[in-house]
Symmetry: none
Subunit: 230 residues, 2 copies
DNA sequence: GGCGCCTGTCACCTTACTGTCACATCCCGG
DNA sequence: CCGGGATGTGACAGTAAGGTGACAGGCGCC
């Protein structure tokens, strides 16, 4: 899963015009976009940087959309992405086959751009709750992923980028314990190799920041396991 | 799938030096390691004790890495392992072919040891999530493996890591009598050398913790056999 | 170039946890 | 009622895990 702030959408379509159109609209909606011509290129793109959402055209050369979907869902990275099949066929049978293959959603041409964006966001929320521009809340702490603002009991807090993403991760799954390794993956990124103790340091900094205006420490340390937010 | 605490990594490489190097580093990182010379030995090793992660060299005698990967993924045990292809070839095409064959990840020589370990851990997390069932219940005791929380009659209890795992083991199979040896295996790990009396001590501590807010002792001592939870 | 902010690492400290021992207690066969 | 093996448990020292201040490098911004 990519860990930058903007969600990444992969567009898989063999028509350049269609790719350009989708790219333009998705970028305008604040997403990063990568493109692929066919199923094989798609697998490459996924290995390169795992997208959050994949828009997959039904009709593809070489590797059909259906088969591409199966492979994506069978791969390590692709399993973490939401796959939306895009098709001109409106038949129910195809829809069923698409979903059976592991597609998460289905959208039929012709569609409005608004509908497309809405679908992407909906799936994004499911796959990566914090990235969809949601406001996360936990107790008296509010974190707005769109405006990058964090408040506690109404008081604004200043966090660095890393602390921000760390807090977002913790709040995304309240109560759940994150191991240091999982946090490194989620906050720092999959291909970054960093000492796990660094997580401790950042948790410490985050704690200090969260308590600047008083209030109890909201982060729970689980000895031998990791950290959790309550 | 093996069930001890230490994950098992199978290294498949025809160069003894390479095997030794990988083994050393993986063991240093806390993994158990088995090795295989080629694809056929790999299949044997998998039948012996299913590894959690398989490091598969691209170039192998007799059975190419690609073909070996296909066979592994087609076998009963191998399907449960994450396969990481290790290759000197950096060509994109190979990467695709590797992933198409069912490899879960791909790493290209030369790679740093840190990267290798990180990859192994990342795949391990995916293959073997901490625990299957999130919440265990027995009587008025609740144990949540995701949030690492234990409550009795609603009251939160504080347990150390070992006590937590011990309780989880007992609750996982209510009524079953665990021998001290089995508990040592399950809670402490397979090849850990510890006095069996230590189990008694921890059971005692666990009992005390479970009864802090009153309530009957839920752990039954079976004289001459071990312990069980009712 | 100077400055300040953010980051990752390290070293040191504190604390909780752990494994073992010694001794008390219990259970059961004889 | 007794002896011996099995279990309960308080004490204790060693250790591993986590908290934290310090520091140097990187980076963007004046």
């Amino acid at each position: 899963m990519n860990t930058t702030d903007k969600p990444l959408v992969l567009v898989v379509d063999d028509e350049p015009a269609q790719r350009a159109l989708l790219s333009y609209n998705l970028k305008a909606a604040g997403f990063r976009v990568s493109t692929a011509n066919d199923g094989e290129e798609a697998m490459l793109a996924i290995a390169e940087d795992t997208p959050d959402v994949i828009l997959l055209d039904w009709m593809l050369p070489r590797l059909s959309g259906l088969e591409a979907c199966r492979q994506i869902k069978a791969s390590a990275g692709g399993r973490q992405s939401a796959v939306i099949m895009v098709s001109a066929r409106s038949e129910e049978a195809d829809r069923v086959r698409g979903l059976e293959t592991g597609a998460d959603d289905y959208i039929v041409k012709p569609y409005s751009v608004a509908e497309l964006i809405a679908r992407v966001k909906a799936n994004l929320r499911r796959v990566r709750p914090a990235a969809a521009g949601a406001v996360l809340e936990a107790g008296d702490i509010r974190l707005d992923t769109e405006s990058y603002r964090v408040t506690r009991a109404g008081e604004a807090l200043h966090l660095g980028p890393t602390e921000f993403r760390l807090l977002a991760a913790l709040m995304e799954r309240q109560g759940k314990v994150w191991t240091r390794e999982a946090l490194l993956d989620r906050v720092w990124g999959r291909d970054i190799y960093i000492d796990t103790r660094t997580v401790d340091v950042h948790v410490g900094r985050l704690r200090k920041a969260l308590c600047t205006h008083g209030g109890a420490d909201p982060i729970r340390t689980v000895r031998g396991a990791g950290y959790a937010m309550d």
